[in-house]
Amino acid sequence: MAPTPEESTLLQALRNGDEAAFALLVDRYHGQLLRLAMAFVASRAIAEEVVQETWIGVLEGLARFEGRSSLKTWIFRILTNQAKTRGVRESRTVPFSPLGNDDADKPSVDPTRFLTSGYFVDHWASPPTPWDEATPERLLLSKECGQRLEQAIEALPPAQRQVLVLRDVDGLSSEEVCNVLALSETNQRVLLHRARSRVRRALERYLEGDASTP
């Protein structure tokens, strides 16, 4: 994945010292980088520092950047490296297992939702119900719903959170995510699945106003 034509132009401008080009890059990626950094380190303050170190790293590396990946992937990878180093230093280590196996055997849906015997075993006993808020816009119209969504993402184990943030919040492709986080395609998909299942559960709990189901 080489830089896009737009990125090549941007890269040239950066190397020529074009301040506007750098400002554009910062405005485009700072928020996404911050969100990702927060999936690695323990506090917002440390995450802010990691992002600033990332931008310094970008400036230092610009001359060496060979364009073997897209500019975006390259920047996100610098952040990942900075954040990992920092995370280790802050002793909030990224789980050793690439899958962060703290809920390896947890089902995607609460098992009590399925029938446990009979011909229709493992089919819905209490099926999902339609959500009134049928579009993301309507869903997030309520500030509280947005907050619940953010909380659900923050509560994820780090490895799941990193994948989910990149794929679903920032909209990177699976190939880009594998590159940025140095994950295999399979591990990326497993982490994404666990993360999405958890976030859906959290939204369901909120929208259906039932605090009792896990």
């Binding site: 910062v26 399925f114 959500w131 997030l140 969504l149």
Partner: protein
């Protein structure tokens, strides 16, 4: 083998052991296009028959799209100014 048995065999082979539970475990593979053609057909058939799983899929898609519309974390003005200053220093060391 009776006609009935053959018919059931064919249905078993095509529909496989698709349960609602197995769909919830495979929903990401389904959305990511990572299923074998046969499994895809099986889930497709299951979805056609199962309102609960169609709703589950709809909830999942909505969850994913909602995450994509979360507001970005804003960059504080002083942080931005500091970064631009660093860029100037980098440009003219």
């Amino acid at each position: 083998m009776t006609r009935e048995e053959i018919r059931n065999r064919v249905i078993d082979c095509l529909a496989g052991k698709v349960t609602c539970k197995s769909f919830t475990e495979a929903v990401t593979d389904y959305l990511e296009g990572n299923l074998s053609v046969l499994d895809w057909v099986r889930f497709q058939m299951h979805l056609g028959l199962c309102l609960g799983c169609r709703l589950y899929l709809r909830q999942m898609k909505l969850t994913i799209r909602a995450m994509g519309t979360l507001p970005e974390k804003p960059i504080p003005a002083d942080v931005r100014a500091e970064l631009i200053r660093r860029f100037r220093n980098w440009k003219n060391p």
